[in-house]
């Protein structure tokens, strides 16, 4: 069968479509750089929606992440965040949350301090920026408002009773209720994503408000699992608040959850509209590096696709996303076979106690970069002058334990795009 070959050309190729890859594309667009992007969605759908900069260090929860970053630069000079200036981190974070807000997914601006936000279990975690649909929880908790938390029959991964039980000492005015979701109350399993899409229909919001209204009683606020729409959450949020007459907030549910699906669908919809040649849900099979740039080869449902670019940012993530692979005796980078900083042998990957507060060495493995964010090869030199790396793929950070996933993704994407743009335009 005869098929036309398909090729894209761009100044910058972004490989990966998690937070770092998406942030890289946004930053490149803001600089007027033409972008092609390829990547499986990876685990972006597993986020709570919170954007952490730095939430935990050896002293415990971090209140002021900017102060903590000063300490980090001293204690962990190789940490990716220790190699980005405070100004750049602020600029990157602010630009990213502004872009999300402008694209229709409202986020709070990063402030001077972390806020303590609710987890699916009703515990608290520090974060820097959160979706506007979740923000009212902070004020309601601070004021100790009488608040009703509602969950739904058949919805796994979110229990209002659990949230109330875990928070009740700190927030005595909390109360739980369980209801059936309109038209999905047979008792069968329901999914947060399905409820969220249903709430995009005005009539469903009306029915839900009619079920919740009588339960409010003296409640001055309402907490729901994160189900307030997928593509217009701020609108759904406002509409439901206006129907119920009290502040409403979302609490993240167990991953994969709606806030992550929102991010994925937002990027997949908006980036192509902004001119990004996006190949969603596909992986680069082979990357050729040559003097004038890179050539990526991939295969989509229809067949082979080739992308030529003057520079590339590698943001392929860690093990789950496929950027790193743990072979029996070594950890390797999967696309270009870059050097990987790692423990000396498998026996040193983990400490004996999985919950050891010091963490595990394997989690700090990853790709090393020079001061230009170019990944290094086995000789310690940049693997290629036009190849850059960003995000959780990078070594010397433990983003889950340090609560710095979004911070590493956004700040390093900002720097890598900066350097890649210069390289791409250097002729």
């Amino acid at each position: 069968m005869i098929k036309e070959p398909r090729r894209h050309q761009a100044e910058l190729l972004v490989i990966g479509s998690g937070l770092a890859g998406m942030a890289a594309s946004l930053f490149a667009l803001a600089r007027g750089v033409s972008v092609a992007q390829v990547g499986n969605s990876g685990v972006i759908a597993f986020t709570t929606g919170y954007l952490d900069l730095l939430g935990h260090d050896e002293r415990g929860f971090v209140d002021d992440p900017w102060q903590a970053l000063i300490r980090l630069r001293e204690d962990e000079p190789r940490h990716p965040l220790a190699n980005v200036t405070e100004n750049d981190i602020r600029a990157a974070f602010t630009s990213f949350t502004q872009s999300l807000t402008e694209m229709g997914l409202g986020y709070t601006a990063p402030g001077a301090h972390n806020v303590l936000a609710l987890t699916p279990a009703g515990t608290l975690k520090p974060t820097l920026s959160l979706p506007l649909t979740m923000q009212p929880a902070i004020a309601a908790m601070a004021a100790g408002l009488d608040t009703l938390i509602v969950d739904f029959t058949g919805l796994n991964g979110f229990s209002a009773r659990e949230v109330v039980a875990n928070l009740s000492q700190r927030w005595p005015g909390l109360r739980a209720a369980r209801i059936g979701f309109p038209d999905m109350d047979s008792g069968a399993e329901v999914y947060a994503e399905v409820l969220a899409r249903a709430l995009e229909v005005p009539a469903t919001r009306q029915l839900l408000a009619e079920r919740i209204g009588p339960l409010l009683g003296s409640a001055q606020a309402l907490g729901l699992p994160a189900i307030l729409g997928v593509h217009r959450p701020d609108h759904v949020h406002r509409e439901l608040q206006s129907l119920l007459g009290v502040p409403v907030f979302e609490i993240p549910t167990m991953p994969p959850a709606v806030p992550g699906v929102r991010l994925r669908e937002l990027f997949e919809t908006r980036l192509p509209q902004c001119g990004v040649a996006l190949e969603p849900q596909h992986r680069v099979k082979r990357l050729e590096l040559h003097t004038q740039g890179v050539t990526a080869h991939l295969e989509d449902a229809y067949g082979e696709v080739t992308i030529e670019a003057a520079a590339a940012v590698l943001a392929t993530g860690r093990f789950t996303s496929g950027g790193l692979r743990a072979d029996p005796n070594a950890i390797r980078e999967t696309l270009v076979n870059l050097a990987v900083s790692q423990p000396e042998g498998r026996a040193h990957w983990y400490r004996p106690d999985y919950f050891d507060p010091r963490g595990h060495a394997i989690n700090r493995s990853g790709v090393m970069v020079d001061e230009q964010w170019r990944p290094l090869d086995a000789t310690g030199k940049p693997a290629h002058p036009r190849l850059f790396a960003a995000g959780s793929l990078l070594a010397h950070q433990d983003w889950i334990r340090q609560r710095c996933g979004a911070g590493v993704a956004i700040a390093t994407a900002y720097k890598a795009v900066d350097a890649a743009t210069q390289a791409a335009r250097s002729g």
Binding site: M1, I2, K3, E4, R6, N40, S41, G42, V43, A45, F46, A188, E189, Y191, A192, E193, V194, R197, A198, E200, V201, P202, A203, T204, V230, H231, R232, P255, P256, V261, E265, E268, T269, P272, L278, P280, Q281, D300, A301, Y302, T320, S321
Partner: protein, 431 residues
């Protein structure tokens, strides 16, 4: 269909089969059990099954249950589960396998009968339309279109014209039940001066054999169609506004290693090309009432084959036709779009309650756009989305692209407006 106690011809070892069916490096062992597939699947919960459960049961060796669950006839094999899966796990391939293992008499008879009809005559029509009936209907309808006015006096719908550039297929629905709907398509070809032909063999644009799970029948169907195109020496096999007929031929050629000397293409891509080239100068000036439109991306044309390039063409044509401000996209859309529930033979499977339950999500998506019309270049999408409007009392209509193109160019006849509402019933016809 009798779903009381279906007994599979043989019980499949799904885990072993997966090893053979999956591309190198892919494995169901990679499943994280995260449930993105199930949350994103409109068939989740039907017949007590969902994609995650299906994969977990396969991994646990629950082969008898999977070989007999009627859920496989409610899964439209739309591959959305694979699309949203962080590990790109394909459930549809196992569903196809399970379908094939059912005894023919237990399979949904509507799908089986449609496939049998296709295999009976060389025209390959699922509605049993024989070649002489097709030729006669085309000739009669050509005469009728020519009678619409001088500008169509030389309009042609050639059959078996050797060496034509385009081999055009035709869904049986039009010649069998609404031949007047072929007029707008021919007028477009006439307008752009396309070098095209129908064929008396292999002309039909439907293929239910793939949906029966019978690979041999699917292969036979594709072989007949490929032979028909090769026989006429056409450069491009132009699939009209239909989804699965494109997928079954394109995928079938690859899967069965057939020799096809032509390029497969979707008519919508050519609409887009002709509009860009100025050969089809459509505009939205007719839409003075600000009538709102959305589009349905057929899974078979977008996610499963041509990708977002196709989705972009669909939107380009739609926007040019109805006006930027009158086009409202569904969310999610393009490759992430939801199947409407008309695919996979579901429309023919006789499982109405399940099909409506499946389609509720599509209905909600359409409703939240508040569009007056849904444009879709797929007959199964068209029928299902119309049926959803009837069942759930929706306020929208479903329309073909060819109808709007001819409306925009002022050449839509009085009897070619079956799918338009009162708002457009007389537009452009004069007093």
């Amino acid at each position: 269909m009798n779903t009381a106690s279906p007994i599979a011809t043989h019980t499949i070892d799904f885990k072993a089969a997966a090893r053979d069916l999956l591309p190198p490096g892919a494995s169901y062992d990679a499943c994280l059990s995260c449930g993105l597939c199930s949350a994103g699947c409109p068939a989740s919960g039907l017949e007590g099954m969902d994609p995650r459960r299906f994969i977990r049961m396969a991994m646990l060796g629950m082969n008898e249950e999977l070989s007999t669950t009627p859920w496989i006839w409610t899964c439209t094999q739309c591959q959305r589960c694979k699309y949203v899966c962080p590990m790109s796990i394909d459930v549809a391939v196992l569903v196809g396998l399970a379908r094939g293992a059912w005894p023919t008499e237990k399979k949904p008879s509507g799908i089986v009968r449609s496939c049998e009809a296709q295999l009976r005559f060389p025209g390959t029509s699922a509605m049993g339309l024989q070649e002489e009936d097709f030729v006669e209907t085309v000739e009669e309808t050509v005469a009728s279109v020519r009678g619409q006015g001088d500008r169509f006096a030389r309009l042609e719908a050639p059959i078996d014209r050797q060496g034509a550039h385009f081999f055009v297929n035709q869904n049986s629905r039009e010649p069998a039940t609404e031949p007047e709907e072929m007029g707008p398509l021919w007028k477009i070809f006439d307008y752009v001066g396309a070098d095209w032909t129908y064929s008396s063999t292999g002309w039909a644009a439907e293929n239910f054999c793939m949906f029966t799970g019978d690979d041999q029948a699917w292969r036979k169907m594709v072989e007949q169609r490929v032979a028909a195109v090769n026989r006429l020496g056409c450069k491009v096999w132009l699939n009209t506004e239909c989804g699965h007929s494109f997928y079954t031929v394109w995928k079938g050629v690859e899967r069965f290693g057939l020799k096809a000397d032509f390029e497969p293409a979707s008519l919508v891509s050519y609409y887009a090309r002709w509009i860009r080239e100025g050969r089809l100068p459509v505009n939205a000036e007719w839409n003075t009432q600000g009538i709102k439109f959305t589009v349905q991306d057929p899974c078979q044309l977008v996610r499963k084959s041509l990708g977002d390039t196709m989705a972009d063409d669909i939107r380009y044509v739609a926007r040019m036709l109805v006006g930027e401000e009158n086009f409202i996209d569904m969310a999610p859309s393009r490759s992430a779009n939801y199947c409407c529930g008309g695919g996979g033979g579901f429309l023919q499977a006789g499982m109405k309650e399940q099909r409506w339950a499946y389609g509720k999500r599509k209905f909600d998506q359409i409703t939240s756009t508040q569009a007056d019309y849904v444009l879709t270049p797929c007959h199964n999408c068209h029928s299902q989305i119309e049926d959803l409007a009837r069942h759930f009392h929706g306020g929208y209509r479903v329309v073909h692209f060819w109808t709007l193109i001819c409306l925009s160019l002022g050449m839509l006849g009085e009897h070619e407006r079956k799918y338009l509402g009162p708002d457009l019933a007389r537009l452009g016809l004069g007093a």
